[in-house]
């Protein structure tokens, strides 16, 4: 069985990620289907630190996997935004980086 740690920690992490994943401000994330489903599932299986129940372990693994998914998508998105999100520079800006200016050409570029 995979080393999963404490179910409570997984649950908390998962709920936190769902809060971040709530796209549009306004609608409370606690009413979202995902939040309700996760809370109901944990409550129904009453995931504790008991190692005996197979259904509990399966649920915990699923929850941990979903947590990994949400977290990784968020982190990847943040990295993308920071490093790859800005697009190309305009030619004027590129020239300006090395101290040049583009020539003015009456009638546009040749």
């Amino acid at each position: 069985m995979a080393a999963l740690g404490s179910p409570l920690r997984t649950l908390r992490g998962l709920l936190r990620e769902l809060r971040h994943a709530g796209g549009r401000a306004g609608r409370p994330y606690r009413n979202s289907p995902a939040y309700q489903h996760v809370v109901a599932a944990f409550r129904a299986h009453r995931v504790t630190s008991e190692k005996l129940c197979r259904a509990q372990q399966e649920l915990h693994f699923q929850a941990a996997t979903y947590l990994c998914l949400l977290r990784s998508v968020r982190e990847h998105g943040a990295l993308h935004q920071e490093y790859h999100g800005k697009g190309e520079r305009a030619p004027e800006e590129v020239a300006g980086l090395v101290g040049f200016r583009l020539p003015q050409q009456p009638g546009g570029k040749g």
């Binding site: 796209g23 549009r24 289907p33 693994f61 699923q62 979903y66 990784s72 982190e75 490093y83």
Partner: protein
């Protein structure tokens, strides 16, 4: 990139399974089919992907949606046996079986980290796998391949799409089975898949915009694939009706 054109995302149950509603419109696949999934939990997770889009829809972050679209449209037009054969073929070049001889530290790291996973798979499936430093890779007995073919045949078409996807991401059948069987976590499977990269990162340092970027993306895709497989192959303990395939 498309702008987010919908306010509310909800799920509903139709004849073929669970559907996703974007406002009053029903979500369709790229080929125009009605988007239906067999599992309510999967539908909820897909709906969450759509609902977490902000101003623009970033399709490249919506891994579960993509997996469902692949299962519904089957764009590569492969049947079940073709998918299984593609998956098992990976065993011949399985990452964890393919060893270096130098540097010695990396070779030892591979032994310490990968030997246990191979041992687990050999015991769990009662097969011989082994590892190799040869450029040709390990010599996998035919009986081993047949065992995996039979095992994978017990999964339905949707789950198989997911399994093949995870194998392609991790470049390893063994690590993927470790995930499917819940023997290792996604984080551990990704670490083991990227063992050489991690070794080099430890030596030379990490470049956030490349290493961490790739790491997060691999984790996201692997987690999506694993979750997809489990949600598509849930047993009868689930209360909701499942679509038989």
């Amino acid at each position: 990139e498309r702008k987010r054109f919908y306010q509310n995302v909800s799920i509903s149950q139709g004849e073929g399974g669970f559907e996703i509603n974007l406002d009053h419109r029903k979500l369709k696949t790229p080929q125009g089919k009605l988007f239906t999934v067999p599992s309510e939990a999967l539908a909820i997770a897909v709906a969450t992907e759509w609902d977490s889009q902000k101003d623009t829809i970033k399709f490249y972050t919506m891994h579960l949606t993509t997996l469902c679209n692949t299962a519904l449209d089957n764009p590569t037009q492969r049947n079940k046996m073709q998918l299984i054969r593609a998956a098992v073929k990976f065993l011949e070049t399985d990452t964890v079986c393919y060893r270096v001889e130098e540097p010695a530290a990396l070779a030892e790291l591979q032994r310490n980290e990968w030997d246990p996973v191979i041992a687990w798979a050999e015991k769990r499936y009662d097969v011989a796998i082994g590892s190799s430093t040869s450029i040709l890779g390990p010599n996998i007995p035919a009986s081993t391949k047949e065992t995996f073919v039979s095992h994978l045949a017990s999964y339905n078409m949707w789950a198989l799409q997911g399994i093949e996807y995870v194998i392609t991401q991790l470049k390893s059948l063994i690590l993927s089975m470790g995930l499917i069987d819940r023997h290792i976590t996604v984080e551990k499977a990704v670490l083991l898949s990227r063992l050489e990269e991690e070794y080099q990162i430890q030596r030379w340092g990490s470049v956030e915009w490349a290493h961490d970027y790739d790491l997060c993306e691999l984790r996201a895709r692997t987690a999506a694939g694993t979750l997809f497989v489990h949600l598509c192959s849930e047993s009868s303990t689930v209360k909701h009706k499942l679509l038989q395939d």
